[in-house]
Assembly symmetry: C2
DNA sequence: TTTACACCCTCTAGCTACTGTAGGTTCAAG
DNA sequence: CTTGAACCTACAGTAGCTAGAGGGTGTAAA
């Protein structure tokens, strides 16, 4: 049996985060010691590892909820899990494209700055005048 | 003189966002009509455009505050603005690197999924077992 | 002039995914 | 039996907005 602190260390999660996952129903309520402290077994360790890994891959908590549900029903079709992963991949690719455009623009700003006074700073100038941008970047970059 | 709605349209900002920027001190308090409605001039339009453009390039509101301050003092050295932009560029490049690793992993998951039952779904399997990952991705992908 | 209606006002709460703090209790070692 | 780390609950705060309630303003047509 693991305490919450041990579980946290093993999974690289903060203690509060574990309690938060329990609160929002992502992890089941665990057993308790006589004094009321949480005690975890291996299934909870696996489940939390799954969650953390999915988070590292950028899945939202809602997506993870779905994935966990699929994982709990081995007889269901794999198609849904596949769709979720494809959706996530698509999102990542969109973000990559946006970030690449941002990098281009930022590089140009930084390169053109000659280091004088702010009155003729390229960085500030570009920010003032969108028409100086070569790329489109309507969406916020993140 | 512009109403808040017109300013919003011109800058591609939501009305509430403009009020929010005012509230956190990013935009100055504007003049008001007799009935108490906000009225804006060209300087506010320029300032808000600057803010939105910087947001599109991914600068944080704190960074934007600094950039605005520099922009208000044309005699200051450009070095600070340059440093802020370089910091932002570095952040973007770090995110790009992380996202590229995520894309690799997600692509692999999706490609290997054969479309059967969840019991042998590669997507879920990879999530269950971190050791199946080829790349490191300790930080959350965003 | 009155009435309609889009727009504006303030205030408060909600979103994601946590993180931190306060004030108190439990556990295990010595 | 005492000490001190680790645990408990409950609530507030983070970024950067966004949405809603409940009401007031501005303007143009009838």
């Amino acid at each position: 049996m693991l305490t919450i602190g041990t579980l946290a260390k093993r999974t690289g999660t903060k203690v509060q985060t574990i309690r938060y996952y329990e609160q929002i129903g992502l992890l089941p309520e665990p057993g308790r010691s006589a004094g009321g402290q949480r005690r975890y077994g291996d299934s909870e360790l696996d489940r939390l590892s799954f969650v953390r890994h999915a988070r590292q891959l950028g899945f939202s908590l809602d997506a993870i909820r779905e994935l966990l549900d699929l994982s709990d029903h081995p007889d269901k079709s794999c198609a849904e899990a596949d769709a979720i992963a494809r959706r996530q991949l698509k999102q990542v690719e969109q973000r990559l494209a946006r970030l690449e455009a941002l990098r281009t623009e930022l590089k140009r700003m930084v390169h053109e700055c000659s280091g004088g006074q702010t009155s003729d700073c390229r960085v500030l100038e570009v920010l003032r005048d969108h028409s100086e941008c070569l790329t489109e970047h309507e969406e916020i970059g993140a």
